[in-house]
């Protein structure tokens, strides 16, 4: 009798072990929190963007860029089930300033683990933060140091997108004697609802069918040497500088070589609103 029981037990144990090996949940497991890196890959049309190289716009102008800077902020991550995670205010403002060869990575941390299908953010800085006392603003928005070149001291507010360069099609700028193209686009609408000023804040929602960011996903076999923190996805967002010059409105630099604060910046903001696309996600 003992022998039969022993064999039966052994068989049972074997079966359970085998079953357990194949017993995955259909749903992946996630750590409570994780991180997501949004990598802004700057492009000029279908090729990588570099300062100092020549590119041709939709209107046929050749431009050699010397600056491409912008603010993105107010990130919201949306899970597969539609629930949203809002990145906390003090951690959600990022200034990206292109430098050749330098990756632009926005690391969002302490995100609830899960599968995210889309990300939403603003190009620019919102009205509330634009009126907040300076000493209470996050370091990325410091008008004295980090954001100094992207801030208007004479017209309180941040420059949302700054594009500068030269073009043979641009007229000679009398003060520099160069064929400059200079575009500083800002305008958050002011803080007086009774008399709003120009508002060029644009909201972008990025998703791509089949692409999910598996934040904090736990590996079942730790074969990657991963820790219990789980996967840190990298979402590659392509930022097409040439979109600044087209769609919906293609324009010639000869007609508009410079814009600081004026009506034409609305055209520019409408153009650059679709500069960002989600290309792929590495999980």
């Amino acid at each position: 009798m003992k022998k039969v029981h022993f064999l039966a037990a052994l068989a049972a144990i074997s079966m359970m072990t085998v079953t357990a090996c194949h017993d995955h949940n259909d749903e992946a497991e996630y750590a409570e929190k994780g991180s997501l890196v949004v990598e802004m890959d700057h492009q000029a049309g279908s090729v990588p963007f570099n300062l100092g190289a020549n590119y041709v716009t939709a209107a046929g102008d050749t431009i050699k860029f010397s600056k491409f800077n912008y603010f993105v902020s107010n990130f919201v991550l949306v899970k597969e089930d539609g629930s949203e995670y809002i990145v906390p205010k003090n951690d959600c403002y990022f200034l990206i300033q292109h430098e050749n060869g330098v990756a632009n990575e926005i690391k969002l941390e302490n995100i609830p683990g899960g599968a995210y299908k889309s990300v939403r953010f603003m190009i620019g800085v919102d009205s509330l933060m634009s009126a907040t006392p300076a000493e209470q603003r996050p370091a990325s928005l410091d008008p004295v140091t980090n954001a100094a070149g992207m801030y208007w001291a004479w017209n309180s507010g941040y420059i949302f997108v700054k594009v500068e360069g030269t073009s043979p099609q641009a007229p000679i700028d009398p003060s520099t004697q160069e064929r400059d193209v200079v575009y500083h686009v800002g305008g958050y609408g002011g803080n007086n609802p009774a008399s709003p000023t120009m508002n060029n804040i644009k909201t972008v929602t990025l998703e791509k069918s089949g692409e999910l960011a598996q934040v904090g996903q736990l590996e079942s076999d730790h074969s990657h040497g991963g820790t219990s923190e789980g996967v840190e996805p990298h979402a590659h967002v392509y930022v097409n500088v040439l979109e600044f010059f087209t769609a919906p409105t293609s324009f010639k630099v000869a007609d508009n070589p410079v814009m600081h604060w004026g009506d034409f910046s609305k055209t520019l903001a409408n153009n650059y609103a679709d500069m960002f696309t989600l290309d792929h996600i590495h999980n």
């Binding site: 009126a131 006392p133 300076a134 000493e135 209470q136 603003r137 410091d142 008008p143 004295v144 140091t145 100094a148 801030y151 001291a153 004479w154 017209n155 309180s156 803080n191 008399s195 000023t197 120009m198 604060w261 004026g262 009506d263």
Partner: protein, 341 residues
């Protein structure tokens, strides 16, 4: 024994009087002023913050070549304007575009500068620091100079608890100093508050009545501005300076400028955003027959019968000027705590 008490008492009294602190500054909000716009409750203005801000205000290191401080154009004895200058001259003697505004009672202002382009008191200074015709310096460079200046660490420690120099502390210190420049002890204020038996003379009283009839809609008591922006008919040609349009991009704001306070006029001449009115007489002449029918001329300056401005007799003009002089605050312009130490 009692022979000694009285002299002893007097000595003690004199000793106490002699030690009455002359250098203790505290923020005092005038009882006849409304609540400040600045959030004084949550952003406390302290004596140490005021003193640190004062040192920064008078520090020429804020300029590119270390020549020009805030105090260069905002002179305390001129109620913090550049007295006698139509427009100011800054670094390299470059000329600005507009008449220097007094740094006074800024805690009550919602928007700063002639065109209202800045709305946070602590961000006002960045405009002058970065302007190529004023100080022409990068704020980051200023911060480095301050960090490397041995005079500052004890002042930062006194104001903020540690010696660390940060952007926020730097900006807020300046805000504390500028905010602390409160002018509310003119004869007018003393009359309003019933202090020192202050009373208007007959001329001043007549001027006050005339003022209330003609001027207070825009130059509202007690700050003598309603903080709005208006075109007061100085010119039909807006090309030289578009005013608030440059901020709002609204064509109804072309040629529109802030309504300035009328306090301390004796010290802040000349007048208007372009400094083109050299005297109060010239200002009143402007309002009584000198107005241009400009595109955005304020409707308050157009009478129902089409006349522009007001009618005032010679005596009435003298009376108004007499009243305006009661808004001069000599204590403000002579306060040793406000000037360069």
């Amino acid at each position: 024994m009692y022979r000694f008490v009285f002299p002893l008492f007097m000595i003690v009294l004199f000793a106490a009087c002699k030690e009455a602190p002359q250098d203790e500054w505290t923020l005092e909000l005038p009882s006849n002023f409304p609540k400040p716009h600045f959030d004084v409750a949550n952003r406390p203005i302290t004596k140490e913050g005021f003193e640190l801000g004062r040192k920064i205000f008078y520090d020429p290191q804020l300029s590119r070549d270390n020549s020009t401080s805030c105090g260069s154009c905002h002179i305390s004895t001129s109620a913090f304007t550049q007295h006698g200058h139509v427009v100011s001259h800054g670094i390299d003697n470059k000329l600005g575009r507009r008449n220097s505004l007094p740094v006074q009672n800024m805690l009550w202002e919602p928007l700063f500068f002639w065109d209202g382009g800045v709305q946070n008191l602590e961000l006002v200074a960045l405009n002058a620091i970065t302007s190529p015709v004023e100080m022409d310096e990068s704020p980051a460079n200023v911060l480095e100079k301050i960090k490397n200046d041995p005079a500052y660490p004890p002042l930062f420690k006194a104001a903020y608890g540690t010696e660390e120099v940060t952007s926020g502390r730097f900006l807020f210190a300046l805000a504390q100093f500028m905010g602390g420049l409160i002018s509310a002890n003119s004869k007018y204020d003393q009359v309003q508050r019933g202090e020192n038996n202050a009373q208007f003379t007959a001329e001043e009283a007549r001027g006050y009545e005339l003022f209330k009839q003609n001027c207070t809609t825009c130059h509202q008591e007690p700050l003598f501005t309603d903080f709005s922006f208006r075109d007061n008919g100085l010119t039909k040609n807006y090309d030289r300076d578009k005013g608030r349009f440059e901020i709002s991009l609204d064509s109804s704001d072309l040629g529109v400028f802030r309504v300035p306070s009328l306090r301390n006029l004796t010290y802040t001449k000349p007048y208007m955003h372009d400094g083109k009115k050299a005297s109060l007489e010239a200002v009143l002449d402007h309002y009584t027959g000198g107005l241009e029918m400009s595109r955005n001329l304020d409707p308050l300056l157009i009478q129902p019968n089409g006349q522009l401005g007001f009618s005032l007799s010679a005596q009435q003009k003298l009376d108004i000027i007499a009243f305006l002089k009661t808004l001069d605050d000599e204590e403000f312009v002579r306060n040793p705590l406000f000037s360069e130490q």
